[in-house]
């Protein structure tokens, strides 16, 4: 591992969780949770230094759903560093602060809960701990008590990591005070064959509400390892929407702990791996207290030679009576070479709970296509319409209009491309 210390910002508060880290080894195929997705050469990766603020000339992609500054606060983060000259940050009067992590606002409250990667340590994720050990840069977002954000907050992440086997570690912290409310979206671009590695630690105070949307628009050779850790206090609401439109090898871990009663969680994901792409989503929904609910809906539309992995864990502690947990995963394979591995895992230790789960995997139904053709649609029209219906239903629950309509269009383009590359394959179903 090589690093350039002069480019690493000074981070006095980060005490390294070295002791714990020593015990962790990089996961391998013997590890059930990492069976389908491995990064065997990770220890040989070089560290990509973060960008220096102010040097980034402009935003490369203009065809992204970036709202105007009237509608949203938009923060551009290039290779881990906020680019203030390209950003429109929340005004101090808004009750919301966005700053670099580590930075001057890195106050004691955050330090006590996150500074040491407390949540990450608890969950023992090798890559997150490694990122912490590297003093990973990132963004700290705080919403003060009782503040209901007047605008949507967006982070436009641009990770430009041209070389393969190089990694950019980032660490973001999002903290909502009691009864605060925020819609927070991330448009994540990954350019080049390197790896974006990030840890998000999210803490939701009593009665707070966070709508968190992620558009992962990684290039088809880009690698990504992401862990999102969420702690929910009493009566808080967390809604996560993931649009995973590609990536060479992507591993997302989303872990939510409901630590106070009457918390509610919605996890939604739409995954579109195309040719040679591999997207792995793991969720862990932990119900620790009574009267909480969660709802997970994931769908994967897999092109030829694409792979989708989903592993959804739901843990219900003995105290968590009256838990209402739902999980559903569906995958639609567009070609015989498309792969989907989906596994629900429920561990329920309370007796008065309502937990349901389901999973379906398959290709489009020949009977449905035939029926549509007898009404005058061509085979390709019928396929597109069924695929469109498959994704649209999920996209409807993306709460930000500009993102929803952009994703719909993006999906339709992707579907055309996936169908096209499927048609060009031998054994194509057309």
């Amino acid at each position: 591992m090589t690093t350039s210390p002069e480019l690493m910002p000074n981070r006095p508060h980060a005490v390294q969780p070295v002791d714990k880290l020593r015990k962790l080894v990089p996961p391998n195929f013997r590890d059930e949770d990492w069976k389908y997705t491995q990064f065997p050469h990770f220890q040989q990766y070089k560290i990509q230094p973060p960008s220096v603020p102010g040097l980034s000339k402009g935003i490369p992609s203009s065809n992204l759903p970036i709202p105007s500054i009237n509608e949203a606060w938009v923060v551009v983060v290039k290779n881990g560093m906020i680019q203030p000259h390209l950003s429109h940050l929340p005004e101090p009067s808004s009750g919301i602060s966005v700053c670099s992590l580590p930075g001057t606002h890195f106050g004691p409250s955050v330090e006590s809960e996150f500074g040491r990667g407390a949540i990450a340590l608890k969950h023992g994720h090798y890559f997150s701990q490694w990122a912490l050990e590297q003093n990973a840069v990132g963004v700290l977002i705080e919403v003060k008590k009782n503040v209901v954000a007047q605008k949507h907050l967006m982070i436009h992440t641009i990770n430009d990591i041209p070389e393969s086997k190089s990694v950019l570690p980032c660490h973001h912290v999002i903290k909502l005070g009691p009864n605060a409310s925020l819609t927070f979206s991330e448009v994540m671009e990954g350019i080049g064959a390197g790896m974006s590695l990030s840890l998000h630690e999210i803490h939701l105070g009593v009665g707070s509400s966070l709508k968190h949307n992620q558009l992962q628009l990684w290039g088809n050779t880009h690698e990504c390892i992401q862990q999102v850790l969420v702690n929910q206090e009493k009566e808080s609401q967390y809604a996560h929407f993931a649009y995973c439109a590609g990536g060479g090898k992507v591993r997302n871990q989303l872990t939510v702990s409901q630590e106070g009663p009457l918390a509610h969680t919605e996890l939604t994901g739409l995954v579109l791996p195309g040719a040679g792409e591999h997207i792995d989503n793991q969720t862990l929904m932990r119900h620790c207290t009574p009267n909480c609910s969660s709802r997970q809906r994931y769908r994967a539309l897999v092109g030829h030679n694409g792979t989708s992995v989903f592993n959804g864990k739901v843990f219900v502690d003995p105290e968590a009576q009256k838990t209402d947990a739902y999980q559903h995963h569906a995958s639609l394979l567009m070609h015989e070479s498309a792969v989907s591995n989906a596994k629900p895992e429920l561990e329920i230790y309370a007796d008065d709970v309502k937990c349901s789960h389901g999973a379906t995997t398959g290709m489009l139904d020949a009977g449905e296509i035939h029926y549509m053709r007898t009404r005058g649609l061509s085979e390709i029209q019928a396929r597109m319409m069924l695929q469109d219906a498959f994704v649209r239903d999920l996209l409807d629950s993306l709460p930000v209009e500009i993102l929803r309509s952009w994703c719909l269009n993006h999906c339709v383009d992707r579907l055309h491309a996936l169908n096209q590359s499927t048609v060009n394959q031998p054994n194509n179903p057309l």
Binding site: G367, E368, H370, Y371, M372, R373, T374, R375, G376, L377, S378, E379, Q381, M385, L386, A389, F390, R392, D393
Partner: protein
């Protein structure tokens, strides 16, 4: 002749299901097919609509043109409509957007301009009223969660929307309650005209009291063994099929 079927044979995995069907339906006429379960009625209608998966020989001419090689969508756009015995659910596909695409494909095929949103909506209202299909069902995905009877009604609604020259109704009456049967049958009657032919498959004489056929054919074991006028349906209702089978044995 609008539809002419000649010596149509079909088999699946070596099993012969249709054993040389001859059937001609002039423009504007309504013909009924009756026959015991498993005699091949649905197979015949599926093959007219272009379903693959059978080994087929013989000829099907539509408007004088051989259509055996046509894809199902081309047959549909040319004016052949099949109301399925078991309509298929299309998860998440909204009925109105589905039908709009279908109607516009047919119009393109006929060289007519596509309908704009408001013209299409008006057409949908008019045709939904014909079979008293509720607006609530129109907003739902195609057949998803529809009751058996609602699905059948929806098939006739789609037929009305697509305005075919040749409509094949495969047991549209089964699953309909008494009132629904009357409503759907009246809807079908309103769609009768001199240029539109229909082939109505049914087990029950009752439907044919509403939709009065010009001809009734009896299909047994993959062949049309008897044809007659509407009175044949009454005789079948009374006597069943055994007397015909017995007659066949005597004559052979």
């Amino acid at each position: 002749m609008l539809l002419e079927i000649e010596n149509l044979k079909a088999s699946v995995e070596g099993k012969e299901i249709l054993k040389g069907i001859n059937l001609s339906i002039p423009a504007g006429e309504v013909h009924a097919i009756m026959g015991p379960n498993g005699s091949g009625k649905s197979t015949l209608s599926s093959i007219i609509a272009g379903k693959d998966g059978y080994e087929i020989s013989g000829s099907i001419r539509f408007d004088g043109v051989e259509i055996m090689d046509w894809e199902p969508e081309i047959r549909s756009r040319a004016g052949i409509f099949l109301a399925f015995q078991y309509p298929v659910e299309l998860p998440g596909v909204g009925l109105s957007s589905f039908l709009r695409a279908c109607v516009n494909e047919s119009r393109k095929h006929r060289g007519e301009p596509e309908l704009d949103a408001s013209a299409f909506l008006a057409l949908m209202r008019e045709k939904a009223a014909l079979v008293e299909l509720s607006q609530e069902l129109i907003r739902r995905p195609v057949n998803q969660g529809f009751s058996g009877g609602e699905k059948k009604r929806n098939e006739i609604f789609q037929m009305a929307m697509l305005d075919p020259k040749m409509a094949i109704l495969d047991e549209t009456d089964s699953g309909l309650d008494i009132d629904a049967l009357r409503i759907v049958a009246e809807g079908v009657n309103k769609l009768r005209h001199a240029q539109r032919s229909m082939l109505v498959i049914t087990h029950y004489q009752r439907l044919l009291e509403y939709i009065i056929p010009d001809r009734v054919h009896v299909l047994i074991d993959g062949a049309i063994v008897m044809s007659g006028d509407r009175n044949l349906a009454l005789t079948l209702e009374e006597k069943g099929y055994d007397w015909i089978r017995a007659g066949q044995e005597v004559s052979s």
